[in-house]
Symmetry: C2
Subunit: 287 residues, 2 copies
């Protein structure tokens, strides 16, 4: 299978990510259909011309005609959707996803599907602190990272097609790693940062602080506006790795705390020089 203008693409779940994919793919000249829960979201997407067709009914007809199915659902809902509709998916079709954890999902979905339909997992490292198709914006993918996490069951063709999809969506850097490596890194890069933002927002309830804040606090808590259903699910599906990263971080905080108590200016400065140097690696590539 090749991605071309005849490829029938079906997006399942028209939220902030599904909507962004729909917009980017439609703009790239593909015909995108979608299945989603609410008619309002379909109406919005049709009006904005980011889908060609939408339905709230996951019928055999619409699923079975798709060559490429992109599920943009919460992890648990995604697995259930595949279980329920696996017999409708056309043999030879390719299924991919956008789920934020991989090990707990990928093997399960691949074994539900069995042979005939291939599932290749991917994680777009771009989101929004708001949910819903009306906040979707394909420009967030530009300059961002895209991670493909194949297993031994995946074919070279599917991996390549998934990378091509990432390219078409506008991602700047596409990587291929195992689901386990993905989860280990995401526990640090994404899950720990969300826990920190939530904790920071909750640990001081003094009134009126917004009158005195600067951008540093705003930046560190942007993601404290969080989809509680999705993120609690993601955390629990990657619990061990997240706990390890939380423990490393707390240990590092306590080390800094000790230096502060001891008046160890040079120790703190050394940590700051290291963070300054290391942070420069993480600057976003130019769009």
């Amino acid at each position: 299978m090749n991605l071309n203008k005849d490829t029938k693409i079906l997006i399942v779940g028209l939220g902030v990510i599904g909507g962004g994919y729909a917009a980017a793919l439609t703009k790239a000249g593909f015909t995108v259909k979608c299945i989603t829960l609410n008619q309002d979201d379909i109406d919005y997407a049709l009006e904005k011309k980011i889908i060609a067709y939408g339905t709230t009914e996951a019928s055999h007809e619409i699923i079975s005609e798709a060559d490429l199915i992109i599920c943009a659902l919460y992890p648990g809902v995604f697995v259930e959707w595949v279980r329920e509709h696996r017999h409708s998916i056309k043999p030879g079709a390719l299924l991919t996803d956008v789920t934020g954890v991989k090990a707990a999902i990928v093997n399960k979905v691949q074994s539900i599907l069995g042979d005939g339909v291939e599932f290749i997992a991917a994680h777009p490292m771009a989101g929004r602190e708001r949910s819903g198709v009306e906040f979707s914006d394909p420009s967030v993918f530009c300059g961002a990272n895209y991670i493909v996490t194949p297993t031994e069951k995946n074919t070279r063709e599917a991996i390549e097609l998934c990378c091509e999809l990432g390219n078409i969506l506008g991602f700047a850097r596409i990587s291929i790693i195992s689901p386990e490596e993905h989860d280990e890194m995401i526990a640090f890069l994404s899950q720990l940062t969300h826990v920190i933002a939530v904790a920071l927002m909750n640990c001081n309830s003094t009134e009126g602080l917004e009158k005195y804040t600067g951008d540093s606090f705003r930046d560190l808590t942007r993601i404290a506006k969080i989809n509680d259903k999705m993120w609690s699910e993601l955390f629990l599906l990657n619990r061990e790795a997240l706990l390890r990263e939380m423990d490393s971080f707390i240990t590092e905080m306590r080390e800094f705390r000790k230096m502060l108590i001891d008046g160890d200016a040079e120790g703190m400065r050394e940590k700051m020089r290291r963070s300054t140097e290391r942070r420069s690696l993480f600057d976003k590539p130019a769009k």
Copy 2:
């Protein structure tokens, strides 16, 4: 004293904040002179037309003609500068600053100055993760907060003039609180966030992580590019308050950790709903 186009303004220290003040005040029609360490910074500022005159010599002449002196120096350097040059400051002149801690500085400077010259402390809640006049940009003040921290020694006139200065610089919200209240809040809003960013940047040294990161990690670590000399000094000058905030934050992290271990999804979700609601208070006012 009133701020008008005849007011002789002297900025001491042409770094990222001093340079931003110079640019904003020059743009507003004031004549701004400056004293700073490096001739290169003066040359840059003259070329960019953000100062009318600059010198590396803190001579009696230039100091004594100023009506308003704005010191944009590191805390310790600031106190020493006042001690060294207090006799050059014209009686009736007003001195203000941009220092990030107040209690440890304000009383000291006021008692060094004695009568005749009034020091009114202020803290612009806007900065950059880079140092130096070439990174200064007065637009960072627009929409930002400005905090004036008078003591009982300050006159109403000086407080008003300092607020007027904040207005001219473009700040959106100007508040007046005591040095002690300031330090308590800044320990949370600014110092704790910098400690977190540094710790997050240092607690995982896996290579190649930048290939997989999303914006959340980038946002939480933007300020991990940090001026180690200045921030270690600020932390030590506000040690007790910062330790209290670090402890509250670590306690909150440990509470979340316990919920994760217990699989308490509802507990985590409640914390996320609270952080989402509370964070909306902190959105930046429109420019």
